[in-house]
Amino acid sequence: MVNRVCLGLKGTSYGLWISKSGVDVLTASEANMLFSSTRKTIQVIQSTSVVYAAEAVANSRSKTITHTDYGFRPFVILEFRGFTQAEYESGPDSTNWVYTLSARTQTSFTFDRPGITINSATQWKGFTLYYRLLSVGYGSI
């Protein structure tokens, strides 16, 4: 069995390291680390969701989500839930994507619901939009 967790002094640096299974953390290269306090880890630092009710027409299409100013421009993952597969395939080009805020001071995000084409008619289905801020982005590294 090898050492896999080092908390404290390793070489000349203090920190926390966790190595891959079977690799001695005290001698492991960075490529063999599962976690190293010399590198940033991608994490979700804030998560929220907003519900869009179904609409007969394109009214109330926009909703705004606000978030904390973390001191940098975080990447954002948008995720949609509530469409059927057929609706996805006739609707938005992408069902989720990574969004970049325009500025560090942008602490709100407004999203217009996509129209879904069903039987040749555009409908505004109800769905839930999940909004997740990542720990990486401009100014975070």
Binding site: G15, R39, Q43, I45, E79, F83, T95, Y130, S135, S140
Partner: protein, 158 residues
């Protein structure tokens, strides 16, 4: 010297950037916070997407996951990217789909006529598929997506 690792019952595990005191670090100065969900990498797959139209080219994961996992897809080009760092490849898409196996698409124009190719990527709990779709079924001046992709599966679920 500053304290960079804080391990306590109240705070969990926090790790700050070099030279930043962990007990007072802002969110942007933390390398790790056990209070936040992480994206550990659970598997990495290299796959060559063949050049064809209208067919789901399927790549199976090594496991069937409890839910659809977070997946990053990188495009390495037409040459075998073995040995090329993922960081030097083009980031293509990040998928985290739920409930149904749905498409997420990448569209690119590749013809003077204005026709374009759409790449459908469908994510399941045990596989991912790639499918080239023509914008104009009669168009003959488009190119199907093909080449080497790197698929990173992250152990993150909603």
């Amino acid at each position: 010297m500053v304290g960079r690792v804080l391990l306590s019952v109240a705070d969990g595990l926090l790790v700050s950037k070099p030279t930043v005191e962990v007990t007072t670090a802002a969110a942007k100065d933390l390398l790790f916070d056990s209070g936040c969900a992480s994206f550990p990498i659970v598997e990495v797959i290299q796959y060559q997407v063949p050049l064809n139209w209208g067919v789901d080219n399927v790549v199976y994961f090594s496991n069937t996951y409890p839910q659809r996992p977070m997946v990053s897809v990188f495009y390495g080009g037409t040459a075998d990217p073995t040995g090329i760092a993922v960081a030097s490849q083009k980031w293509f898409a990040l998928l985290h789909l739920t409930q149904v196996a749905v498409k997420t698409t990448v569209t690119y124009r590749n013809a003077a006529s204005g026709n374009y190719t759409t790449l459908w990527m469908k994510l399941y709990t045990d596989r991912i598929s790639f499918r080239s779709v023509k914008s104009n079924s009669g168009g003959s001046d488009m190119t199907a997506f093909s080449g080497y992709v790197t698929i990173i599966v992250h152990g993150f679920y909603s």
